[in-house]
Amino acid sequence: METINYQNFRIDAENICVDYNGKVALYDANLKLKPGQICGLVGMNGAGKTTFFNALTGFVNISKGKIRINGESVRSAQKDQTIAYVPQNEGIDSQFPISVWDVVMMGRYGSMNIFRCPRESDVQAVKDAIERVDLTDQLSTPIGNLSGGQRKRTFLARAIAQRASILLLDEPFSGVDIRTEKLISELFIQFKNEGKTILLSTHDMIHVREFCDLVLLINKTVVAYGETSEVFTPENITTTFGGISPDFLFGPES
């Protein structure tokens, strides 16, 4: 079991900047998350959500600022399998010749030997993870034959098999069926109780209110950050989306 130490931040990003060949994608962004917290990352397309994820996983280098994961560098977080990234369905090649089992096993690669030979414990971790997302009947199905929801669950299982303490999820609810949505929200509650920290990007305002303790509104930099009940106001949302009112964006009921 993980020990939960509420003194330390799981994610501690200070004034981070990312630019791609001189084009600024994100600047002066801050984020502090503790174990057991779920934070929603909200912003327009191109507001820097994916860049933020990329910076936290070390997929892009930050040009300024500092990122500490469990008090350590991103590099050692990678070595320790601390962060798991669950991609958007659009972000993966669904025609890749690979089965559910193989994808989930990839969650274990970081802790295997150089030939990536699964040990008994790896096989068990993969079995358990697949069971938790309810895909045991699809073990050897190629991912191209899965529905959007099943594919999303496959990648969630990979994150579970990795035993990461931080989960980054890019649009976890987009293009999934009701059953998957329910399963994901149940998993979130379990993750929270296990002391995992979750950062998820979403376009759906209802999901933010439902799951997220905290919300981070960004538009190239942090527009507002804090408890969902305080920060997730129509004014802040309007500012985040460049002056467009939330009613227009999400319909009056949200």
């Binding site: 962060i83 972000g91 690669y109």
Partner: protein, 291 residues
Amino acid sequence: MELCSFLTLDAFITDPLTHDFMRKALLMSSLVAAVCGFLSSYLTLKGWALMGDAVSHSVMPGVVVAYALGLPFSLGAFIFGVGSVALIGFIKQKSRVKEDTVIGLVFTGFFALGIVLVSKIKSNIDLHSILFGSPLGISLSDVKQTIFISLLVVILLSIFRKDLMLYCFDPRHAKTVGINVFFLHYLLLTCLSLAAVVGLQSVGIILVVAMLITPGATAYLLTDKFDNMTVISVSSAIISSIIGIYVSFWFDLETGGSIVLAQTFIFLFAFLFAPRYGIFKLKKLFAGYKS
């Protein structure tokens, strides 16, 4: 007499084997096919077919320069192969020109440099044999070098098989769990350059390009499992080499071209009759007969 040997299958297969140059050609082409077929499944999945095209052309000036300086061909080819990819990346990043255009202009530039150098530097390098290969006239030192480099590439690819698969599938996850993506990227490029060298010495650039692209595409149509894809890719490359060489022997055809055509026919067959992804899905046809 000629007709008789045609009629017996035994003679059809064994006759060519009595010639030393045919045995060598079969060995060399199969080795190149194995290496390229292995790489091909990664290139197909990574969307790097054009990159394979570019690297195999770009190694040419490297080979000529290495020849002039008395260095191993593979060294020159490696430097220019990886250099071309670095240059492609650099130009793409620093200009608004799209990637496929950049790839095209860099490799044609390198290739032209190679042609100019060949004509300027007095050497025994023959342009025609670089382009179309001379599988029937391979020297003993070439055979040794080909065996060595082929084994090296196959061993490297086998060791990092799963990591390379992950790198092609989801590089972001690879990076997140601490796998050295930078290393894998250059490993793939290095193997690509080495495959180009091996091919260039024996079967020619055009054939290397075909061998890097077609077997992977064929295998991709035939399976949904990565390991199977590699096996099918390698075996279809080797089988088409053998078919091509036999056909070229018996019908007196250009060897390199025959090998590529054999590959193309295998691809077409998969394209039409692959069980799941073919135009006339064989599985369905058979299911129709049973019911």
